[in-house]
């Protein structure tokens, strides 16, 4: 028997009341600002405000698409994200399984705490550490390399070496924190499965392969979809701080491009165009990934 409107509300109104805060958060901070998207179609002059500026249709888009730097930053965004996905996505999974296999609770707790710490360090500070460790002339690692009689490695100033530095730092910063979701999912596995497998004579790797990984599959797929949705958007701090003039061919990405256009040069129209472009492509990626995973693995989040 279904509940009629009023009695339904009477029964569940508390739940709706609870919803008010998050919903208003989304309205105020996520939907409200979308009004600003129309800046992309206007010759924005902030002394006249959004309403007073002149409409220019798609001229802003034409200008952005004619910029050679736009394609370079777009390519770099995809490239850095793609490599990040290859390297940084499996890292927390592997780490989580390793932690899960640990026998001593105290050691496990200790390792977890140590692994989480980098996540709480600001990128600005990480940038400082990176320069100290990887510098060519006086960096810690190169001091050792040089004292062993080899030539210094330009970790920060050669673009290929820089890419590796960038990825490694990313793993160091995020892998520990990323294990949390996997560890939460792992606690949900029925212990009896492992016992049964042991009786059947399964070794450790076999158990990981046949029990742990399949149980994590929904989590992995969900995270993968979320990550794919972010393929075109890239955090600002990491490439901006770890990047430098010598490696701008790789380190210049859409977010730093938008920063330069919008905040530094005051060209809000063009910056908004790039932002809107990112949003649209991002949406296509999320829907595409979701569709693919529904077809292939029968898992989806929408």
């Amino acid at each position: 028997m279904t509940l009629k409107g009023t009695s339904y509300l009477r029964r569940y109104w508390q739940l709706y009341a609870l919803l008010i805060l998050p919903v208003s958060y989304f309205i105020i901070f996520k939907y409200g600002p979308m009004y600003g998207i129309i800046i992309a179609f206007k010759d924005f002059n902030f002394f006249q405000g959004i309403g007073g500026s002149e409409w220019i249709g798609f001229d802003g888009f034409r200008e952005v698409f004619a910029m050679p730097d736009f394609y370079k930053t777009l390519r770099n965004t995809f490239m850095l994200n793609f490599f990040d996905l290859l390297v940084s996505f499996p890292a927390p999974l592997i780490l989580a399984i390793m932690l899960y296999e640990l026998k001593f609770a105290w050691f496990k707790k200790l390792s977890q705490t140590i692994l989480y710490i980098p996540h709480f360090i600001s990128w600005v500070i990480i940038g400082g550490i990176v320069y100290q460790v990887f510098g060519t002339q006086s960096g810690m690692i190169n001091n050792i390399v040089v004292s062993l009689g080899f030539e210094a490695i330009p970790f920060l100033t050669d673009k290929k070496d820089w890419l590796i530095t960038y990825l490694a730092v990313g793993v160091w910063q995020s892998a520990g924190w990323g294990t949390i979701i996997y560890l939460a999912a792992l606690t949900g596995i029925n212990r009896e499965l492992f016992e049964a497998a042991e009786v059947d004579g399964a070794g450790r790797m076999r158990k990981i392969w046949s029990i742990t990984l399949p149980s994590l599959k929904p989590t992995i797929v969900t995270l993968l979809i979320i990550n794919l949705g972010h393929m075109i958007s890239i955090g600002f701090e990491r490439p901006y701080i770890i990047g430098n003039t010598a490696v701008r061919d790789y380190s210049d990405v859409l977010s730093t491009f938008v920063y330069r256009m919008g905040i530094e040069s005051g060209q809000y129209t063009l910056a908004t165009v790039v932002g809107l472009f990112q949003a649209v492509v991002g949406l296509i990626f999320v829907l595409g990934a979701n569709y693919a995973s529904k077809k292939l693995a029968d898992q989806s989040i929408l």
């Binding site: 009477r10 008010i20 409200g32 902030f46 050679p68 510098g135 920060l156 430098n244 003039t245 530094e264």
Partner: protein, 539 residues
């Protein structure tokens, strides 16, 4: 049934509440115009007797001594007591972080209502953009009516920089000392090796090689013969010395102004400068990580640790108390730094850029209701001995006058010294101390330094003023520079870093690619516009 209705009512009430609060929020965020109107009404009331508020931007360098803040210190109180209170004006200082002045100013200007009545920037491109977009109050008439002292103080040459399409939209601060750069060499290293002070770039190269091979500082192989950073003070003197003689037309059209500086990207000789840097780099004569060092931190550290043999820098920078030279002498007893003029061109001269005779561009946003008060404030600063007081503090306590030059009392107690810790950022109408003529102004700088460094400071200030190149000035703004300037400056740095760090046999191709990239991202647009502007100017 009654209960059910109650529940529904509650739900509706809550929903309504959410809606109302949402609308309130969005009203606040989108209500720039509404607020401006409110201000107008308040302003009307204030004129009837309540004090009005004058909001003035102030740079915050995060260096306030403990107990003081950038908005509450000796100078803010001095301004309030001597200008504010007598004129029924409440002064309010709005801090803006120095390192992100343009970004923060953009945000303030966009907010419309919160913007201070007096704002400023060092970036002429930003000033032109605001003027072009109609965001600034025209100041010509106001200046005539309310700012006679100010007008006389700034003078025509400086004021001309604040014009946009023939109208006065900014009041540029007057610059006291136009010199920029000097070079410095470790005299004790030269003495040890029995070498003379190098007089030309070629001699410098040999000296650098000697520094590298003989390591007079006994650094254990860590010697950096030429200290370099990705900052104008380091690369500009080197690059400009390679620029070949060129016509006036070339000077106007082939120079590119990025931000507030002129760059010789297209002038003949630029490539030779890069080739020289490439040679130095590949022979290990130059800081290896200079491309990472945009704030000169590494260079300063290396030089203070006695690793650097030669470098160029802002003329006075090494001499400040506890600055580079003082630290170097502490770290390396007996170290001696000499101010020298080395980088030379084919004619044996030492060309280097000088500043335009302006500092900050002071502007009054169009939305300001207090333009008259703002001009009065700046006029007050320019009249009597107010500027002298703001820059130097109290006579007899902070300084003594010697031959008309205020000499800092080094033994003044800390709290007295702290009175003027922010004088440079409060006395906005002047860049540097103004004492009547440039010789005196320079002497004032010299006396501001620790006594042991007076002689060397004087020499550095002489170096920075000789053989200088004046900035190119058009009678109209070059729009492409405002649009692409900031981005192109990054590209310019890319050219330097990439060509310098390229393997010698790849120099040509790296140079070609980097230049192409530069031209495609706005360099060509600037060139075209400057050519047109030059033609129009000479009609």
């Amino acid at each position: 049934m009654v209960k059910a209705a109650k529940g529904k009512k509650k739900a509706i009430a809550l929903l309504a509440l959410t809606l109302v609060s949402t609308m309130l929020f969005s009203a606040c965020s989108g209500g720039g115009n509404g607020n401006a109107q409110n201000n107008k009404e308040n302003g009307g009331e204030a004129a009837a007797g309540n004090p009005v508020t004058l909001k003035v931007e102030v740079f915050d360098r995060g260096n306030s001594p403990s107990g003081l803040s950038i908005t509450d210190n000796y100078l803010t109180n001095f301004v309030q007591d001597n200008f504010g209170t007598p004129n029924n004006i409440t002064m309010e200082f709005v801090p803006v972080p120095r390192s992100e002045e343009v970004q923060k100013l953009n945000v303030l200007m966009a907010s419309g209502s919160d913007v201070p009545d007096i704002v400023f920037t060092y970036d002429s491109g930003t000033f032109y953009r605001y003027a072009q977009q109609g965001g600034l109050t025209e100041l010509g008439e106001l200046l005539d009516q309310h700012g006679p002292n100010l007008k006389a103080f700034l003078g025509e040459e400086t004021l001309a920089y604040g014009e946009f399409e023939g109208k006065q939209f900014a009041l540029p601060a007057k610059r006291a000392h136009l010199g920029k750069y000097s070079s410095f060499i470790r005299q004790d290293w030269l003495d040890k090796l029995g070498l003379p002070v190098p007089a030309t770039t070629e001699e410098l190269y040999n000296t650098l090689k000697a520094f590298k091979e003989q390591d007079p500082g006994q650094t254990g192989g860590k010697v950096i013969p030429l200290g370099m950073a990705l900052a104008p003070a380091q690369y500009e003197p080197l690059i400009w010395s390679f620029i070949q003689p060129h016509s006036e037309e070339e000077r106007y059209t082939l120079t590119q102004q990025l931000g507030s500086r002129d760059y010789p990207t297209l002038l003949p000789g630029f490539k030779d400068a890069l080739a020289f840097m490439n040679k130095l780099y590949n022979e290990g004569l130059m800081s290896a990580d200079f491309g990472l060092d945009e704030d000169k931190k590494k260079l300063n550290e290396d030089a203070a640790n006695g690793l650097v043999g030669f470098f160029s820098e802002d003329d006075m920078n090494p001499f400040y108390p506890d600055g580079l030279y003082a630290t170097l002498q502490k770290n390396v007893p007996g170290a001696k730094l000499s101010a020298v003029d080395v980088y030379s061109n084919a004619e044996g001269k030492h060309p280097k850029p000088e500043y335009a005779p302006v500092g900050l561009y002071i502007m009054i946003p169009k939305s300001s209701e207090r333009a008259v008060e703002a001009i009065k404030y700046l006029d007050w600063m320019a009249s009597g001995d107010n500027l002298l007081h703001m820059q130097n503090g109290v006579e007899g306590e902070n300084y003594t006058l010697q031959n008309g030059i205020p000499v800092v009392k080094a033994d003044a107690p800390e709290d007295v010294k702290n009175r003027i810790y922010n004088q440079g950022d409060m006395a906005i109408i002047s860049n540097g101390k103004q004492l009547g003529d440039s010789e005196k102004n320079v002497e004032a700088y010299v006396y501001g330094m620790p006594e042991a460094f007076h002689e060397e400071t004087r020499r550095a200030l002489t170096v920075s003023r000789s053989d200088t190149i004046k900035p190119v000035r058009f009678d109209r703004p070059i729009e492409a520079q405002g649009k692409y300037g900031t981005g192109l400056l990054d590209k310019f740095h890319e050219i330097i870093v990439k060509t310098t760090m390229a393997k010698p046999d790849q120099f040509e191709s790296v140079y070609e690619t980097a230049m192409k990239d530069y031209m495609a991202n706005g360099g060509q647009a600037i060139l075209d516009e400057r050519k047109k502007a030059y033609e129009a100017m000479n009609k």
